[in-house]
Symmetry: C2
């Protein structure tokens, strides 16, 4: 393709110089990056950022499913509106609709307890335990290697948690190369302090999601409380505000193009250091396969529900999910093609291998063979996932059968998802069938998915699935008709009765779907074992590849960060515009003018009247941008982020808080695999917008004073 050739040429041209702002660094790496950070404009001491348990990094915590940061000495915690949405919902009712109206606590007595399962997690220790973890695995291979590491990790966690004061985990860095023990304190009494109305906190909703320029006040303030003894405690009137050893200071200034910026948070998962073969597989096979299958499943559901209002309603949510997944996979594929990631990663790896001593190559070659083996069953695994993942009745049968098997084991030894604490979730799954099921649609979906499975080569076939569903479309169709005519699982009482039996590990009886579930679950367990064996081999072999990559990057004068794994990372870079397409440039700072432009007075562009009036009035207090002469809203940086960075604080060159991460641009959806400096941006709430809202629109002057940025 001429297109890729040109893109490759452009990207190769950039590759030499463009890596300065790529990287989700472990804080411990920062001292080694001091020169680069200084050159980028950081005015503080990078060494001061190395300890996640000391100020200022200890101000950054996990909050709910995202990141948060303390912004006062008295436990005031800043995170995203969408991260705190559960807390807001929990406190909202038709009579007191704080989702729509927002919430401002007038004094601490008005702060409202979060849902009891909402947690703020403060890291108190972070230590390398690589030798301990790997000692037990030495000499082992495959599943045994995998299980040895799992076992060693469980032991470390148990020791760490022995005194009952902390929750612990072991994080795997660089794909099995290093392991870190993390100890954390869980704060259980969290309260809602300030939330803007939904039409500010989620202005634009799905339409604007990923779509810079954005105009959303996606922030919320919470407060953490502890017992009078300073220890974590469930909600109590007697609790006192938590005093974290560190909190962030809001800047009196705001960001402008070119300014240094950095961000701390808990990015979820990236694949940047995967092999060239994995890149090629992702681009040539995995993503096109996902796009095609999801589209076919969408078409199948739409055809099967056409003209049937009840069925249309029942499958609306699944259809929406498939469309989102399809769009996301298509966007990722488009981005990887635009960046020509396959060519670039291939060239990079080839150069690395050429520079790697022959003695190290044996493990790397073994890894490559391992990866090829896994990729060869990728299509089958995707299709078989849908058999349980995209169905209701068949999924119920498989779930009950698996639970029956797991129930025979002691709780601690059961597979995750089938332990005592998971039983409520399983019951929920069995109960929601009625609202999401229509037999003709489920049969149509299975006919499509299993019909594609039937076309796979013999080597990928699974005997139990062939036995259950036949080898031809005609057999498949007849079996599905017979199964769904005969099964009694469509009845909720029947399913819940079977749940009681399964929980007790009792035989489930002779229902048609349960009859095939027996052998199908046996097959699933066998495939699961094969996957864990591959995983073990990967854990064993990939460190050799990573060592070669360390050496190669070192020879290029570049450091290597571990791929994201939900541990605390820091990225640094700058406020930067983007040219997403020929002749189109987006400024890095948006203003309230854009709220007026987008506003239609209809959801999701239905800014509240007080906001519209305040914009019309134009009284910006002390928060207007001096150059723009108006109130800013959001801004854009080239910081390296991925899912999980929601709520990350964005700091300026002085380490002061200037922004709150909440989104990415659509062009960077492929950045989980490839960081393209032309397109990778992160989207933040300008703290000046938060301050203006709290000063002029939904006033909370006490809170501004508490954060050290009093209203004018």
């Amino acid at each position: 393709m001429t297109r890729n050739t040109l893109a490759a040429a452009l990207a190769l041209g950039l590759a030499a110089t463009a890596h300065a702002d790529e990287g989700m660094w472990m804080p411990t790496q920062l001292p080694d990056l001091a020169a680069q950070m200084k050159a980028a404009g950081f005015e503080g001491d990078p060494a001061g950022l190395a300890d996640v348990t000391a100020p200022p990094l200890s101000a950054v915590v996990r909050a709910g499913g995202g990141t948060g940061s303390f912004v006062s000495a008295n436990g005031l915690l800043l995170t995203n509106h969408h991260v705190a949405m559960g807390v807001i919902q929990y406190n909202s009712s038709p009579e007191d609709n704080i989702i729509d109206n927002g919430f401002v606590a007038k004094g601490r007595a008005e702060e409202r307890p979060a849902n009891p399962d909402f947690r703020v997690v403060v890291t108190t220790a972070f230590d390398k335990v690589t030798d301990q973890v790997l000692a037990a695995a030495k000499g082992k291979t495959g599943r045994a290697y995998h299980d040895a590491i799992e076992q060693a990790s469980k032991q470390i966690v148990a020791q760490c948690e022995a005194d009952g004061s902390v929750r612990c985990s072991v994080a795997n860095m660089y794909y099995g190369t290093d392991f870190y023990r993390i100890a954390q304190v869980e704060l259980q009494d969290v309260r809602l302090v300030y939330a803007p109305p939904r039409a500010i906190g989620n202005y634009g909703d799905e339409i604007d999601n990923f779509m810079w320029p954005r105009h959303t006040g996606d922030f919320t303030l919470l407060r953490a409380y502890v017992g009078p003894d300073g220890k974590p405690a469930p909600y109590s009137e007697n609790n006192v505000p938590y005093q974290n050893p560190a909190f962030l200071h809001l800047s009196a200034q705001g960001p402008k193009e070119g300014d240094y910026a950095m961000l701390a948070g808990y990015p979820g998962v990236t694949y940047r250091h995967r092999t060239a073969a994995e890149f090629a597989s992702q681009i040539d096979q995995v993503l096109p396969r996902r796009v095609a299958l999801f589209q076919q499943m969408i078409d199948t559901i739409e055809a099967a529900t056409a003209g049937d209002a009840a069925a249309t309603q029942r499958y609306a949510s699944q259809l929406q999910g498939l469309k989102n997944n399809r769009k996301r996979a298509a966007g990722e594929l488009e981005g990887l093609l635009r960046s020509d990631a396959k060519t670039l990663r291939g060239a990079d790896e080839a150069a690395m291998l050429a520079a790697t001593p022959r003695t190290q190559r044996r493990s790397i070659d073994a890894l490559f063979a391992q990866i090829a083996g896994g990729a060869s069953v990728g299509e089958r695994d995707l299709l078989l996932q849908q058999v349980s993942g995209a169905t209701q009745l068949l999924r119920s049968a498989l779930l009950l059968e698996r639970l029956r098997i797991e129930a025979a084991k002691p709780d601690a030894q059961r597979e995750t998802g089938y332990q005592a604490r998971d039983l409520g979730m399983i019951e929920g799954t069995l109960k929601q069938v009625q609202r999401r099921f229509d037999p003709k649609v489920e049969k149509a979906l299975l006919a499509h998915v299993l019909g594609r499975y039937q076309q796979l080569p013999d080597a990928q076939r699974v005997a139990e699935f062939d036995a259950a569903f036949g080898r031809t479309p005609a057999e498949l169709s007849a079996r599905l008709d017979a199964l769904y005519a005969a099964t009694g699982l469509g009845d909720e009482a029947t399913r819940l009765g079977l749940l009681d039996k399964a929980k007790a590990g009792q035989a489930l009886g002779d229902d048609a779907l349960l009859a095939i579930a027996g052998p199908l679950v046996a097959a699933q367990l066998r495939l699961e074992h094969e996957a864990k064996t591959r995983e073990g081999e990967s854990l064993r072999l990939r460190p050799a590849y990573m060592q070669a990559l360390f050496a190669w990057r070192n020879s290029q004068g570049r450091a290597l960060y571990p791929d994201a794994n939900r541990t605390l990372r820091i990225s640094y870079g700058r406020v930067e515009s983007i040219t997403p397409r020929d002749a189109v440039t987006w400024s890095p700072v948006t203003t309230v003018a854009g709220i007026l432009e987008k506003n239609t007075n209809a959801y999701p562009f239905d800014a509240p009247k007080p906001l519209l009036e305040a914009i019309a009035k134009g009284d910006w207090g002390n928060t207007a941008d001096p150059a723009l002469g108006t109130q800013t809203v959001n801004f854009l940086t080239n910081l390296d982020t991925t899912g999980g960075n929601s709520g990350s604080p964005v700091l300026n060159a002085k380490g002061e808080l200037i922004g709150l991460n909440f989104d990415s641009n659509w062009e960077s959806v492929s950045a989980s695999w490839w960081f393209d400096p032309r397109y990778k941006r992160a989207v933040h709430v300008d703290m000046r917008y938060m301050r203006w809202l709290m000063d002029k629109v939904y006033p909370a002057h006490d809170l501004l004073a508490e954060m050290g940025v009093p209203a004018q």
Copy 2:
């Protein structure tokens, strides 16, 4: 509205300084604008542009439905691909598909004759005849004033055309203030010389139409021929290339942001100098009414054709037209609201009136009353237009009845559209009914449109329509059912038989639809008379308003151009980027990179392989932009244009040809009423792109040499 208030404040702030680039000037006005043009950067003598019949302006001609310009001494003529599309189609066939493949004549012998009705029109005289035209109207009012001007104009045309060498017309400037006689020579032998493939000439089609950034090579080269005596003649092998007294010279350089630019062409119609009341009516009533009615008609057709594939097919074209009209009206409304044109025009007029002597105010007040009267029947007129405009069978009946009446007059006295030369068109209209008609859809449309008519106040009612269709929805429904059950007009042979009778002025017989057509046409004629009476009053009274406006603009130090009326105009300004929305900026020059970005290999983004290969190769010859280091495609200026400016040449400060106008941006769709310098842009083909295509992609080196820009 807060939104409007802010927009008004912004626009008022701009209003003081922003008029420099507004204006579609008559060439005769340019000497008076010399200082402004020089200040804008023009390096030539504005006085040299004053005479439309002398070089260089005499190089600019009307070509087909747009504008063209001569670009060589031997009749080579540049215009848009879309302006010359009829010529290209006429020469294309399935075996020799030059629409898809493009066309390059290798030498003059290969140039292909245009369709015989394609004309190139060269202006040879342009003279003020105001006194002559107005003399006869003096002392008259209303319809008599209108008819006196029409009569005087016809006499002037007849005298002017007496020797048979030229075609003449009279143009009305400043709404009846001035009149100009225009004489033109029509060149009849025009040939196709060079056309790019459709996927270059119309790259992006409707999706990109109005949507900057654009990447379209919308140009075509024709050549005009004359008889061996130098006089216009129909196609003949013996004809020789026409040697126009002037032709434009292509610049060796290209445009860049901030450069001076100017453009000459034949803009169609604008309403910039309409009264504040007309602006208010357009914004508050006319456009919202059109948007709502068209949407309701769309909904009506979609509901009536649902599930009927044949009917869906028959109404596809009408539906598309309604959707385009709705989108256009909505875009115009959005733009006028964004610019707060009502407030600004109102303030401007109020200030003008305050500065206008009381003695002049009487005519202006009479004009205002006149306008209010016309506006009061605006909704009725729109609805009644649809009765014939949006139907097939009822339209046929009305057409036949009107033709029967007109046929009784001498041909020259018949209403335009019913003269001998129009009979082919009428027959075509009657024949296409079968492909575009379904009785249930036509009844549904009429039920909606006439249902709305029935809700109008009594004062707006038309007795004949009430008699034909009843006064209640129930009566209407019953009448429509009865009419369409009884009529025989659904039969093509019947309609064509009636056409023969109508042409002969004979009675048409007793068909049910023809029975109501009699009184309905009588009503239409009466309404037509009323409209011409209002038009006459407007012609009589509006010059007083224009005089006040002249004086007011003069006091502001600003000149006044006449609203566009398809006569030759010049606008000047500069190459300029645009910020259409908060944080979004579009550069004024696009490059071939954008072609690759947009290309999907599927219509309309299916750039030809030779183009893609040439871009990948990157051999730009002597046409690359020195700063961008690549090949440019289109560019943007703030020049004042409207529909009809298609094909207008764009000149640089030296008067050299740098661009070819072909589109506007969507944000300027409201510029026919209001020029907002923040949003008004015009879109041009960069002549360097044309040269590159002719040099490297579809070579035509002889033509480049003929234009004085030889390939490298």
